[in-house]
Subunit: 339 residues, 2 copies
């Protein structure tokens, strides 16, 4: 069973990669070899090292294709949508890395570190334009009406993404951030594109608003669960697997879910947090105080709650056969990952 699922995933992944390479190649049509190189480098096809880590997990395009199959469609017809969401994801990563001043991404230098901020902003913009051009290829196998619906879904997700990113950037410089604000931010920054991925996959298979809504909600809740789990691992994860130093989110002062919960519930944690001491002793104390405040179990419970909702949405969609199992399996694995 597992081996057959892995085979199917490999088939999807290699088809996605080919579609992505073709999309990115169009940027070089009028002689822009370096622009092409920047995009290919970021996608993990050029530069050292180029391996599966440098390409990332391609979770979003996989969700598009598997959702399409699970909704009874031919996954090959959903390839333009799969490539488009991955290109949007990568456009946002190129810009996020500049905004967060991150030097490393997937174990390699970020685009702005290699080519400077001006070219990196523009490379992200080119990736954004490529994504939308790619989505138009849906029209080869779908009606004008389905293509237009798909375009609207992706554009709305992009707007939502920038709204979430705006909130994330704003919260960095603010003293108090409420839990409500956290949920709104995550809905944009993480869940919007996952939600678009599953909905686009389903829409490629069938034009049924009720079913598409179930897939949309599945992706949204999966995205929320995914982000909460990410926040959990940022403090209680196994650093050998996450590749980040343990408790690193406490050291960088990131306002993650457990931190916001702790700030609301524990004055002792708040005092410690406000001192911004980043030595080992102080970080261990913060972890202890978070656990005492109930932040660890709250975060775990929230991740589980969203996963439950996601699986419930998926079950409402009545996914078919093999791909349906694969989606359930993916959701569970994403949540119970250690890194």
């Amino acid at each position: 069973m597992y081996s057959a699922q892995d085979d199917l995933t490999d088939i999807y992944l290699s088809a996605v990669e080919e579609e992505l390479i073709n999309a990115v190649n169009t940027v070089d049509e009028i002689g822009n070899p370096l622009l092409h190189e920047m995009l290919s480098y970021h996608m993990g096809w050029m530069g050292e090292p180029t391996n599966s880590e440098s390409r990332g997990k391609r979770i979003r395009p996989l969700l598009v294709l598997i959702s399409c199959s699970a909704a009874g469609g031919d996954w090959k017809n959903a390839l333009p949508a799969a490539a488009a969401v991955e290109l949007i994801h990568n456009f946002s990563l190129i810009h996020d890395d500049i905004e967060d001043r991150s030097s490393l991404r997937r174990g390699r230098l970020t685009v702005w570190k290699k080519w400077g901020i001006p070219q990196a902003i523009n490379a992200g913009d080119a990736m954004f334009a490529l994504a939308h051009l790619q989505l138009l290829h849906l029209n080869r196998s779908h009606s004008d009406s389905i293509t237009l619906k798909s375009i609207k879904i992706l554009h709305q997700a992009c707007l939502h993404l920038t709204q979430g990113q705006y909130q994330d950037l704003s919260y960095e410089n603010r003293g108090h951030v409420s839990l409500d604000e956290y949920w709104t931010m995550v809905a944009g920054k993480t869940a919007a594109l996952l939600s678009a991925s599953t909905e686009l996959g389903a829409l490629s298979a069938l034009d049924n608003e009720q079913i598409c809504k179930c897939y949309r909600n599945f992706g949204k809740n999966l995205g929320m669960a995914f982000q909460v789990q990410d926040d959990y691992l940022g403090i209680w994860g196994n650093s050998l697997i996450t590749g980040k130093s343990n408790k690193s989110d406490l050291a960088t002062g990131k306002k993650t879910l457990p931190v916001l919960f702790g700030l609301e519930r524990s004055n002792e944690f708040k005092e410690c947090w406000n001192k911004r001491m980043v030595n080992k002793e102080s970080i261990n104390k913060m972890v202890h105080l978070l656990e005492l405040s109930g932040a660890k179990s709250y975060t775990q419970a929230k991740a589980n709650e969203h996963l439950d909702r996601a699986l419930h949405d998926l079950s409402d969609a009545h996914p078919t056969g093999f791909a349906g199992n694969l989606l359930m399996d993916m959701a569970t694995k994403l949540l119970y990952r250690q890194g």
Copy 2:
């Protein structure tokens, strides 16, 4: 005659402004007042001063609406396309200002100067997403097929824009840039969006590939002429009208058309240019050497050549009535402007 043309332009302009305001308002739907403020500020509706200068000339949306009328359509149906091209133009300005480290735009601080680079990159991305969402409203008065064609035109223009910007950024750091490379860069950076504007206007009126092509070429050649004239004014313009210090392009070392021509034709100019002296005497000497090399008359001739081509394309399109005259008038005015 002039007064009636001005009246018509005013009607177009106020309709465009309303459409733009509605588009930008959608960004605040889930409570992003500051993101909304950044976009409104950049569009010239908020902050000090807010006047017609702070909003820019809105040339592109005017070209959309007048092209639509000239091609026999109802200009109101082209409003979504008009707003979309102006939003794309402004997205690119927000990012260009970061990339060029420009502090001022339309007499006011640039977005990144006011809110920092991270928020400014993201505000540009939000404007990009809004533009494409706005274009989808074409579907209210046009078929799915026309809407899809319009979307493809705008996305291709966006990709072309980023290719031109990539070249512009690359040329800054390079010793030799050929005239051919200059023309390719301008075709992307300036002409692509003007070309999309006139084509989108025509397509809103009628689905005739031959006529739409004439409008597309009209916009393209107008864009080329416009950029060449801009380069001309950067050296020989009246600083009181351009608002830039006279000969400023020589002081900043911008590789404009007359400079590239001078570098190819005059060793004396090349020597002087390579010294990078920016005192008044040295700049006056460069201007003199450029004139001796024939760069001034070459630049004027090229601007006229592209304007002639543009007017020829327009005449091939057989524009109707009043709007046709308005387009011709606009083209001529753009070229013979002094600032």
